[in-house]
Amino acid sequence: MAKTILAVDDSASIRQMVAFTLKGAGYEVIQAVDGQDALDKANTHKVNLVLTDINMPRMDGLQLLELLRQLSHYKTIPILMLTTESGNEIKAKGRAAGATGWLVKPFDPKRLLEVIGKVIG
């Protein structure tokens, strides 16, 4: 059965590119437009991995990360941050909040799939 990835980004262009990449590799993709939308969808779908942007309206990716880690299903699910942010301080915050990994945009589709393959087998 195909593994399911929750892809979260407020940019429709990025969501399109990420979904195209993941679907092409055989993953099921659920898209969310911000942290709040992602949290709602995470509660109704048990996904295998979350890939999230950080700078988003309503709820940002770091808040989403913190809230997901409080849910029993998401305590150990890989959560990857895909962001334009590359500063050490924000990266440390993400790591402390339970991020599995950090990918700085612009993303390389091949590298993204390698990382995802590594963390969810």
Binding site: S11, Q16, T21, K91, G101, W102, K105, P106, P109
Partner: protein, 203 residues
């Protein structure tokens, strides 16, 4: 080898006597966002600039970029060119949101994409940049309220975000090669970009 693209915040500040205003000049690859009453200026050849502002708060910003050539199938949504353009636009939008702009209030004025650079291996590079920025804004549902794109002249763009005003001067008689040389240098830097940003796994 991954090379991080050096998109940068513009730092060339000056006082513009003509407009009696604090100003910042953007070079190729730079962006600037502000919630202050000031002037953002750039000179465009084949590059494009998006002037994006929150129509309620007046928070606004501008970028100045071009797409790199090549990088895979030109028709694919995943080609390096489209990924870089999307990144350049996202950086600007993210900084506007950080300053307090609301995504739903954003509107854009877009300029440039003149076919003014010679020695390019891709025909109509200006048209390509112009097409990209319009398509991106359409996908993102950001209203384009003004545009002056393509043609064959470089342009000087003056953006006053607080006043919601843009002035564009077409440079029909350019006496030096500064504009085209800056864009050529920028284009060479972009050639080094064919992969993505850094990746780090924490566990």
């Amino acid at each position: 080898m991954t090379e991080i693209i050096d998109d940068q915040v513009a730092t060339n500040f000056y006082f513009d006597k003509n407009f009696n205003s604090q100003a910042v000049k953007l070079l190729p690859g730079e962006y600037y966002v502000t919630d202050k009453d000031m002037l953002l200026v750039t000179v465009l050849g084949s590059c494009v600039a998006a002037c994006i502002r929150d129509c309620q708060s007046g928070i606004g910003g501008m970028n100045h970029f071009m797409l790199p050539e090549g990088g895979g199938d030109a028709g694919s949504p995943l080609n390096a060119s489209a990924r870089y353009g999307t990144y350049a636009m996202e950086i600007l939008i993210n900084q506007l949101l950080k300053l307090g702009a609301r995504r739903s209030n954003l509107e854009a004025k877009v300029f440039g994409g003149g076919n003014v650079l010679d020695g390019l291996t891709v025909a109509n590079v200006g048209q390509r940049n112009a097409d990209f920025v319009l398509k991106f804004l359409q996908i993102e549902k950001i209203r384009v309220v003004a545009q002056d794109l393509v043609d064959v002249f470089p342009r000087k763009v003056y953006f006053f975000p607080k006043d919601n005003k843009v002035m564009v001067k077409k440079l029909r008689n350019v006496r030096n090669t500064t504009v085209s040389q800056r864009e050529k240098d920028y284009k060479l830097r972009l050639h080094k970009v064919d992969s993505g940003g850094e990746v780090e796994l924490f566990s």
